[in-house]
Amino acid sequence: MKIRTFFYTIEQGVIGVFKNKWFTVATVATISACLFVFGIFYAIAFNVANIVRNAEQNVSVTVFFDEGISEERIEEIGEIIGRRSEVARYELITAEEAWEKFSEQLGEYAQGFTENPLENCANYQIYLSDVTMQSQLVNYLEGVEGIRKINKSDFTADTLSGINMVLVYVFVGIIVILFAVSIFLINNTVTMGISVRKEEITIMKYIGATDFFVRAPFVFEAMLIGLIGAAIPMGLLYYLYELATDFISEKFAFLSFLTFVPAWDIFIYLIPFSLCIGVGIGFVGSFFTVRKHLRV
């Protein structure tokens, strides 16, 4: 491509954005609306997944030791646990710490005890990286020498992993449907906008313009419109997300599980993805629509 053709393409593309105002407005509005809805669901899905992930991290397995076990063996068991991939973190609760915590709950009744009744209740609290791996870890630990008993909550683990799976399917389904609808709507708008300029394309072809010379300004124009259409909802969503999360955190502070992902953690993926979708749909829609009219 010659330099002057390149600049001609850019110039005509930019002129086209302003020249065909209604087409530009309609396309930008369609792209914006679609990506806005898409962005909302993405942000919700991201946060719900985060809440479930946090809940999973609080699911723990408690490991008690054989009576009279040596401190060295307890340390060895700790190292064995630490090497497991299912384990996110673990901590040793000594008999003294266990009693201290329990006596806080007992209150004045605890004063009647002269010795530590939880002498044999030193344990490891193990937090999982993935609750679905709980039974695998428990099965392994049952075979480790020096472990007397393992406490676990099958119900919590199964419920959370079930919720997680359902959420994945539901949100992936919604996002895929929204994505498909967005592409369909946006492509239709781009197609209509270019079809009304069929005559212009025909004239260019009669005069001897190459397919590239005709197509390039249209494609650049559609990509530019796609970029604008994607940038608007992203800016708006970023602002609204911060506003909404601040509001909910303040008004529903008693719901301790309700923790939001910082805006940037979501938008660092959502913004480039949406911009690529906008530009990509502009490119694909215009490329194929113009091609239909190039057979002159």
Binding site: R4, Y206, G208, A209, T210
Partner: protein, 246 residues
């Protein structure tokens, strides 16, 4: 084999003498209706030819074949040396740049002014801005529109719009000018003016082919007249006239 090659060479040298060379050309539409049947037409470089016929006779189909908007079903078509039966899609723009085309409805780019409409043809031909600045004003002077270079098509009268279309068709100095009903939307005065311009263009060496059903125009000009009726050439007369039987 050698004989075939010799004949082809002879034919090729023959073809190069002609701006338009049609041999046994037929075209049938997809619904089975024949548009043109066994058309044989040769137009030498520098000629001025009218192609006449009533509506539906096949004139527009012929123009579309000459522009390679349509491809013939059979026969041979050479225009400005390009074989339109075998030309690849990617070469069509190069071929079209050897032509100038004018339509009844002008087909100007409505959003661009007179200067830009003419300059557009130069841009397609990859001319530099310097060349465009030199060629476009001189072409606008030739068609008498130098003073209206900033006007948009809708601000011009029909005759003026057709002049712009002519300037656009001629600015790349085509070997052949195809004019499809160029005066169809014009009054008598503007028709005469446009025809005068076409004659001048022809005198300067450009082959001019005008498709029309304006009998007065054809009879006044005393040029070669090819008459098409029901998809066939029924007469081809030098200094001919147009007799509309219908």
């Amino acid at each position: 084999m050698a004989e075939t090659k010799r004949k082809r060479r002879e034919a090729d040298s023959n073809i190069s003498d002609y701006a338009i060379y049609l041999e046994d050309v037929s075209k049938t539409f997809s619904d089975g209706v024949p548009a043109l049947s066994n058309i044989n037409l040769k137009v030498k470089h520098g000629e001025f030819v009218f192609i006449v016929g009533v509506s539906g006779a096949g004139k527009s189909t012929l123009i579309k074949l000459l522009l390679r908007e349509l491809k013939a079903d059979s026969g041979n078509i050479f225009v400005n040396g390009f074989n339109l039966m075998t030309i690849k899609h990617g070469r069509i723009p190069k071929f079209r740049r050897t032509l100038g085309v004018v339509f009844q409805d002008f087909r100007l780019l409505k959003d661009r002014n007179v200067y830009e409409n003419v300059a557009f043809a130069q841009r397609i031909a990859q001319k530099s801005e310097r060349e465009i600045r030199r060629n476009v004003p001189s072409m606008l002077s030739l068609v008498g529109l130098a003073g209206k270079y900033k006007a948009k098509p809708k601000q011009l009268a029909g005759g003026e719009q057709q002049r712009v279309a002519l300037a656009r068709a001629l600015v790349n100095q085509p070997k052949l000018l195809l004019a499809d009903e160029p005066t169809g939307n014009l009054d008598l005065y503007n028709t005469a003016e446009i025809m005068k311009l076409l004659e001048t263009i022809n005198e300067n060496g450009t082959t001019v082919v005008v498709v029309t059903h304006n009998d007065k125009l054809v009879n006044d000009m005393k040029k070669r007249v090819v008459t098409i009726k029901q998809g066939m050439i029924v007469s081809d007369a030098e200094n001919g006239g147009y007799f509309d039987e219908d």
